[in-house]
């Protein structure tokens, strides 16, 4: 019960007019940087950081963390409206969010995303309030083998859900792994696949790839299909926001499962990206009627958004308690802490409880403020889709190109976006799935580092992946998820063979 008391003290610290105003300013600025592709939360927070030097630490962290929440919500907006994810963790939202918006239900898609994101975030804060001490120690049990097992689990839960041919999935994923390995290798310190091009030594930014693959690729397709967004027909009604909120309780099971996945991934700390992919993968695999996934199934929005935000919030706990930032934005905030004269780490809870619990209290309020503000903007954003494509199309291209340039002030990135756009178009035309490529690109180099670190730790023995209860459990679940579709396929085939022996000689049967 001690934590609850401290939390109320925290509320006492932050409930001032000035702080609530700071929250609203932070959230609004955050939505703005989140909506502009290429700017993103880490850049926005580091731009604001110098302003906070003269503030009280608690005011500074409220401003920065609220900007972070705002940016996360803003990132989902562009995923849904334009198929351009602003952060790696909102990629999974595009799979069903964009089709739904395209079909004329932009308000519904946005409301579903915002409300479930808000629920996810609040669940994360409640977890932090209740079990902060225990969870901090849990994160300490994670070493390289455990990290590898978590990434393996993310791949396994996502990989076999694709409806397209397994070999196409494989090709897409391998291309993603190759792209992820461009740049300097952490383990050997050598450069790989840079072809002596100076711009490539920093690697290929994930943001560049998705802006091209999803954003430009989709625009090319739309242009070919006849220059219009179908969303144009949609009317924007405020009542639809309310109706969608009432619709949410139907997906309570998806929400609960996604919260569970999100919190687990947030504290482990594999992070929001793994969480959102895993949650989407499980939602689509466990659904009884899978036919709508990828075409605008509401569960395909609720699952990744809830998991993303509950993981994003939970990830602040390892940052505060251990001094390990769970994301790029958290790293900038940690830099802020040190400049304000605070040492992130286990002693922060003991030495500055006013600061820590003030921050946690502000997470409750900040997220509620953010949900209210973004829901208020739903009609505004949804009506963007009613602008004729001949106007909005070129605007999106301009925004993507300037966003691509902003990622690291490099013109090469703009050309890369064009290349990725063509690649995305070809993939769509030939029916190759894009998701495995993106997943491999985001988690591929992390998984590789974790695997090779494990090998260094164990002097080359694979048994390290079964060396304790935690890593064994994770690996076992991963293997089960990976093999489940194959097992079901084998069972299905053998049953078919029993009932219809003529299928045995079918030359068209997939040799897998």
């Amino acid at each position: 019960m001690g934590n609850i008391g401290l939390l109320f003290e925290g509320f006492g610290h932050i409930l001032t007019f000035q702080h609530v105003l700071l929250m609203m300013v932070g959230v609004t600025l955050g939505i703005l940087v989140g909506v502009l592709p290429g700017l993103g939360a880490p850049n926005g927070v580091s731009l604001l950081l110098p302003l906070t030097f003269s503030m009280e630490p608690i005011s500074g962290i409220i401003l920065l963390s609220c900007m972070y929440w705002g940016a996360l919500f803003g990132g989902s907006t562009t995923s849904i409206l334009f198929n351009i994810p602003g952060e790696p963790s909102s990629v999974a939202t595009t799979f069903d969010g964009y089709p739904m918006a395209k079909a004329g239900q932009a308000s519904r898609a946005l409301t579903l995303a915002f409300v479930s994101a808000g629920i996810g975030a609040l669940a994360g804060v409640v977890m932090i309030t209740l079990v902060s001490g225990w969870v901090a120690n849990f994160a300490l049990r994670f070493s390289s083998p455990e990290y590898f097992a978590v990434y393996f689990l993310a791949f396994a839960s996502f990989i076999s859900m694709g409806s397209s041919a397994p070999f196409k999935t494989l090709v897409s994923m391998m291309l993603g792994f190759a792209l992820a390995s461009v740049g300097m290798d952490t383990i050997s310190g050598n450069l790989r696949l840079t072809f002596d091009i100076p711009e490539l030594i920093k690697g290929i930014s994930f943001l560049i790839a998705v802006m091209g693959l999803f954003g430009i690729g989709e625009l090319l397709l739309t242009t070919e299909e006849g220059l219009r967004f179908e969303g144009i027909k949609a009317r924007v009604r405020i009542s639809e926001v309310g109706r969608t909120v009432l619709e949410l309780p139907r997906y309570w099971f998806t929400v609960v499962r996604s919260i569970f996945i999100g919190i687990l991934m947030g504290i482990t700390p594999a992070g929001p990206t793994a969480a959102s992919f895993m949650s989407y993968g499980l939602a689509s695999r466990s659904a009884r009627d899978k036919s709508n996934f990828g075409k605008g199934d509401p569960r395909g929005i609720v699952a990744p958004e809830t998991a993303d935000h509950s993981a994003g919030t939970s990830a602040l706990l390892p940052m505060l308690a251990l001094g390990v930032p769970g994301s790029a934005t958290a790293a900038v905030m940690m830099g802020g802490l040190m400049i304000w004269g605070l040492t992130p780490g286990p002693m922060l809870f003991v030495e500055r409880p006013d600061f820590v619990w003030g921050l946690i209290a502000s997470m409750y309020l900040g997220n509620i403020v953010a949900v209210i503000l973004v829901i208020a903007t739903v009609p505004l954003y949804a009506s963007i889709l009613r602008v004729p494509f001949t106007i909005i199309g070129p605007v999106i291209v301009a925004v993507i190109f300037s966003g691509a340039y902003q990622v690291s002030n490099s013109l090469t990135d703009v050309w890369l976006v064009v290349l990725f756009g063509l690649l995305g178009y070809i993939f769509k035309k030939l029916d190759y799935p894009l998701a495995p490529l993106v997943l491999a690109m985001v988690l591929g180099d992390k998984a590789e580092d974790a695997f090779r670190q494990s090998m260094l730790l164990s002097s080359g023995k694979l048994s390290i992946f079964w060396s304790n209860g935690l890593v064994s459990t994770l690996m076992a679940i991963g293997c089960l998820l990976l093999l489940a579709p194959a097992l079901m396929w084998v069972m299905g085939v053998s049953r078919k063979r029993l009932t219809r022996p003529d299928l045995r000689q079918d030359p068209n049967e997939n040799p897998l």
């Binding site: 100076p198 830099g335 580092d449 730790l457």
Partner: protein
């Protein structure tokens, strides 16, 4: 010829520093290129300088900080090096500025950068898990020898300062410590706190939080004399209580990492002098002293010929180790 000119101008600059008017004064925003990710040691180094410049109004032009930390910092150095003759880009780094081109095939050489100044020296400490029963560095070395190659040291980056120091420990003591590279010193700190590795050689500030909580403890500092800061930072212990490595079983005297500032090549000497002068003033403020104390770094301002000589000596000594390990890029 160039060095003699620069020595002459340093003398001039020394006088000019006393008088207000210098030839160069930036009239547009100055970019601080941080060659490390946000939140790391180099990032805080640059942002602390930014905040001190702002507070004392040491420069009329505003300062913009950008993080270009990919490829072990090479991204930021390449970015700075390709802006040849640009008076408004300063790269902030460590000795990685001149070590990277020796150990990896990066598209720049140290000749593409102009050294401006070094402002501090970050120390290295041998840390072990808080529950470990080693008392001294000698105990640790003995255990490492016993275990063959099974004791692992976690560190930040590959073939960088941490791995070079690990290699020096092995060479000096005959131990056979394994090295596991992570992306940052923070990750290496958590691996040690969780007991997944036997030791790390983090800078003081990277392990302070875990030390205060008793999750890790310092064994010895790689310095010829003890650290000076005797404030009680972790329970009853202070930085000054940590014995030196050479006295307690690892014969390595001074090993530290300078925090450095660079301009692109091809800039005029008065530009270098202007920034060196601003940084000199930064290093004399109480805020700077507090930053050094908080992160337990040593004050070590160097510029001009002194800094150039230091770079040459450091390059030579580290190259030898890289050569021994077969890590030279060319």
């Amino acid at each position: 010829m160039r060095t003699s000119i620069s020595r002459a101008t340093i003398l001039v600059a020394a006088f000019a520093a006393a008088t207000p008017a210098l030839a160069f004064d930036p009239d547009r925003p100055v970019e601080f290129v941080v060659t490390a990710g946000a939140g790391g040691g180099t990032d805080i180094f640059a942002r602390t300088i930014q905040s001190i410049i702002g507070k004392y109004n040491l420069m009329k032009a505003p300062v913009i900080v950008t993080n270009k930390g990919s490829a072990g910092g090479a991204e930021g150095f390449v970015y700075t090096a390709t802006a040849k003759g640009d008076n408004f880009k300063l790269a902030f780094g460590t000795n990685n500025a001149y070590l990277l081109p020796i150990r990896a095939k990066v598209p720049y050489t140290s000749a593409d950068l102009t050294p401006v100044a070094a402002l501090a020296a970050d120390e290295f400490i041998l840390w072990v898990n808080g529950k470990a029963d080693y008392k001294t560095a000698a105990d640790f070395v003995a255990r490492a020898k016993e275990a063959g190659g099974e004791l692992k040291v976690a560190g930040s980056q590959s073939k960088d300062t941490d791995q070079i120091l690990t290699s020096m420990i092995n060479e000096a003591t005959g131990a056979n410590l394994g090295y596991v590279p992570y992306k940052s010193g923070g990750e290496a700190a958590v691996q040690l706190a969780g007991g997944h590795v036997a030791a790390n050689v983090n800078n003081p500030s990277e392990n302070l939080g875990q030390w205060q909580a008793g999750m890790v403890k310092p064994v010895c500092v790689f310095k010829s004399e003890r650290l000076k800061n005797d404030a009680k930072v972790a329970g009853d212990a202070s930085w000054a209580d940590i014995p030196t490595c050479k006295d307690s079983g690892i014969p390595i005297e001074d090993y530290n990492m300078p925090r450095t500032v660079w301009l692109p090549a091809g800039v005029d000497q008065d530009v270098v002098d202007f920034y060196a002068n601003v940084l000199k003033k930064v290093s004399e403020t109480p805020e700077w002293a507090k930053y050094l104390a908080d992160t337990s770094q040593s004050a070590d301002y160097m510029s001009g010929a002194q800094f150039a000589d230091f770079i040459k000596a450091d390059e030579a000594s580290v190259s030898e180790i890289l050569k021994r390990e077969g890590w030279l890029a060319n």
